[in-house]
């Protein structure tokens, strides 16, 4: 689904990603863990096309497309979705209006007809149930006055509506209590299929009790330094990141 080769990226002249390699095939969930400052959110931002970051080297193949050549909106139209660590509040723009605009621009890009109002509303009802999102929130302004948990559920609701090929969850678990975490994770699990892939970026192992990854990667100092099965997350939880740091410095 996505193949990242030797990715270098910097912000304000400071290099954050220093030759990152990662391959996530369709049908799999990969977790990316790492200490603060390792470059986890930078990776999410670069993949989503945030302009503050400059890619200086490397390539990203997204299901046959040269991702780095695409605009942010075209990446979404090709099937990429980023669940934000800090979802943005947009006063005055209703969730529903915003999603219909998004869905129809994506459909237009793919040469499909616009969705009818009736089908759209049926879809909203069906998908909001996946994350137990009050349908009333769907008609409110995007994230405005939402609690932390509601914002994160709204991210997964949007993901359900847009049916991406690749979803990147950037610290989606941060700030969630156990109930909200379970709801969000259930939503993500229900959306898993053989055709799509998920990258879960997290600082904590806790989320991975609910979203079981196929592979766990450790991101440190701008590179993937270790990959392993789901048990690697438990090891990290137990030992912390210091042993990774020590191991890397020893090299």
């Amino acid at each position: 689904m996505i193949t990242i080769k030797n990715l270098h990226a910097s912000i304000d002249g400071k290099e954050i990603l220093k030759g990152l390699n990662l391959e996530v095939p369709a049908g799999q969930v990969h977790a990316i863990m790492g200490p603060n400052g390792a470059g986890k959110s930078t990776l999410a931002s670069v993949l989503a096309g945030r302009e503050d970051y400059e890619v200086t080297e490397g390539s990203v193949d997204f299901d046959g497309a040269d991702l780095l050549e695409l605009s942010t909106e075209d990446r979404a139209r090709e099937g990429m979705f980023l669940a934000f660590q800090y979802p943005v509040e947009i006063p005055g723009v209703s969730n529903v209006n915003f999603l219909r605009t998004a869905l129809n621009e994506i459909r237009e890009y793919r040469g499909q007809e616009a969705i009818s109002a009736k089908d759209f509303m049926a879809m909203v009802r069906e998908k909001s149930a996946i994350v137990e999102l009050d349908p009333k929130l769907a008609s409110r302004a995007v994230n405005e006055g939402f609690s932390g948990g509601e914002k994160k559920r709204n991210e997964i609701f949007q993901m359900a509506m847009l049916e991406p090929k690749l979803a990147i969850l950037d610290e989606t678990d941060s700030g969630l209590d156990i109930d909200a975490l379970r709801i969000v994770a259930n939503g993500v699990n229900k959306l898993r299929s053989e055709k799509n892939a998920t990258i879960v970026i997290t600082h904590y192992q806790r989320l991975l009790d609910y979203i079981i990854p196929d592979v766990v990667h450790v991101l440190y100092d701008g590179r993937i330094v270790k990959s392993g099965p789901k048990e690697l997350a438990l090891e990290l939880e137990e030992k912390g990141y210091d042993w990774i740091k020590a191991e890397q410095e020893a090299k």
């Binding site: 989503a48 096309g49 945030r50 605009s71 942010t72 909106e73 990446r75 979404a76 139209r77 979705f81 980023l82 934000f84 979802p87 943005v88 509040e89 947009i90 006063p91 005055g92 723009v93 209006n97 915003f98 999603l99 605009t101 998004a102 869905l103 621009e105 994506i106 890009y109 302004a141 949007q158 847009l162």
Partner: protein, 424 residues
């Protein structure tokens, strides 16, 4: 630009204008002529014109083009039914005008009114140092008298269409509205141009909202760039009345709105809503005054602007709460979004409170669109252009949605679509 350029006497500007033939009270005409004699246009040294330069306007010597060209005014109509008065270059276009008999409603041209019928005209208007008011009196071409009888409820639209259709011409118009006790009515005023350039509309409305009456004035300002408009509303509210005004400015080289509401009774409600969406080299200046003279009243004022390209805007809102006007709730807010580095706004919300038991607030914000929100929308597959439009619409929608008149909103949306490519 040096200040001396605006130091140009009014006599050059008014040389082609004719002293009014309307039967206005003679002392007002004389006072206006005296006021204008030897005067110059105000410069930016005058506080009320600090951010609005009249240089371009002062260089004109507009002519009277009283004979209308009979341009098809239908495309400018906001309402499909009701009374419609078309005033082209300051003269009533009788063929396009539609008078319908509505019980409790009287609409008359000043030129067919006796001096007695016009005896109260000008009564609310200050002339001293108000050169445009003085010109509107001394050179008045025509006026519209609108009377709503006590207890009348006028459900059909009343629409005035001001149309400029000649190059470098002046249209000088007065509207006098009396809303009787416990009556309810709304009036729509559209200002337009077709084939006009370097022309100026000077429109003054005097509105008296009687005891317990409800009156709404909605203005849509759409003259093409190249034209000027000075629009003044003087409103007096009696007790228990509600006055609401919507001012939507979408075009014009220079649009100056002067609104003054004298709340001269207890238990009144006053709502002033303004939206301005500017681009090119447009300049819009909203000066408002709400004067709370009596206790137990409420006022809401919300003006919002989206300023693109090199356009500039001014908001100067003043709320007075007089010494004995206790228990006043007065809220005032102005918000602006600057779409480019060259767009600018001067915003000055002011409160002057002399009573001690009141609840008042005022605020002003100016900023750019939230780039994080633009990115968020783009990351969901929405193009950058649509994302910016969604955000701008949401911002200005807060004001536009205050108006529940479907035809007015539809016309506004149609123009927004035409000028900015928006679909609301």
């Amino acid at each position: 630009m040096s200040e001396t350029q605006t130091d140009r006497t009014l006599s050059a500007f008014t040389k082609h204008l004719r002293q009014t033939e309307i039967s206005l009270p003679a002392h007002l005409i004389n006072a206006s002529l005296n006021e204008l004699a030897g005067k110059s246009f105000p410069t930016t040294r005058t506080e009320a014109w600090k951010y609005t330069r009249l240089t371009k306007l002062s260089k004109l010597s507009p002519t009277l083009a009283a004979h209308h060209d009979g341009i098809n005014s239908t495309p400018f109509a906001i309402h499909s039914t009701g009374n419609r008065v078309v005033i082209e270059n300051g003269a009533i276009h009788m063929n396009a005008t539609r008078f319908e008999t509505v019980s409790g409603l009287t609409i008359k041209r000043f030129s067919e009114c006796s001096a007695e019928e016009l005896q109260h005209v000008g009564g609310m208007l200050s002339l001293e140092n108000e050169l445009f008011n003085a010109m509107n009196t001394a050179y008045l071409q025509e006026g519209i008298l609108v009377q709503i009888a006590d207890k009348a409820q006028i459900n059909s639209p009343i629409e005035l269409i001001h149309l400029l259709s000649k190059v470098e011409c002046a249209a000088t118009i007065r509207v006098f509205i009396h809303v009787g006790k416990f009556a309810k009515a709304a009036l729509t005023m559209g200002t337009w141009s077709a084939g006009a350039d370097q022309s100026i509309l000077n429109a003054v409305s005097e509105i008296h909202v009687g005891e317990g009456a409800h009156f709404t004035l909605q203005k849509l300002q759409c003259e093409e760039e190249g034209n000027f408009q000075i629009c003044t509303e003087e409103i007096t509210q009696d007790k228990d009345s509600v006055f609401t005004m919507h001012t939507v400015t979408l075009n014009g080289t220079l649009v100056r709105n002067n609104v003054r509401v004298r709340v001269n009774g207890t238990n009144c409600e006053t709502n002033l809503y303004g939206a301005y969406l500017l681009k090119g080299n447009q300049h819009t200046d909203n000066h408002t005054v709400i004067d709370h003279m009596m206790p137990h009243c409420l006022s809401n004022e919300l003006y919002k602007g989206v300023i693109d390209e090199q356009a500039t805007a001014v908001f100067n809102g003043k709320v007075f709460v007089r010494k004995d006007a206790q228990k006043i709730n007065a809220f005032q807010s102005n918000g602006n979004v600057l779409m480019t580095d060259t767009a600018s706004v001067n915003s000055k919300p002011e409160l002057e409170i002399y009573a001690d038991d009141v609840k008042c607030s005022h605020g002003s914000t100016t900023g750019q669109l939230d780039e994080e929100a633009v990115f968020y929308l783009q990351s969901r597959g929405i193009s950058e252009r649509s994302a910016r439009n969604l955000l701008v619409e949401a911002f200005i929608g807060e004001v536009l949605d205050k108006n529940d008149n479907k035809e007015f909103v539809a016309k506004t949306n149609a123009i927004l679509n035409e000028r900015f490519g928006w679909e609301r």
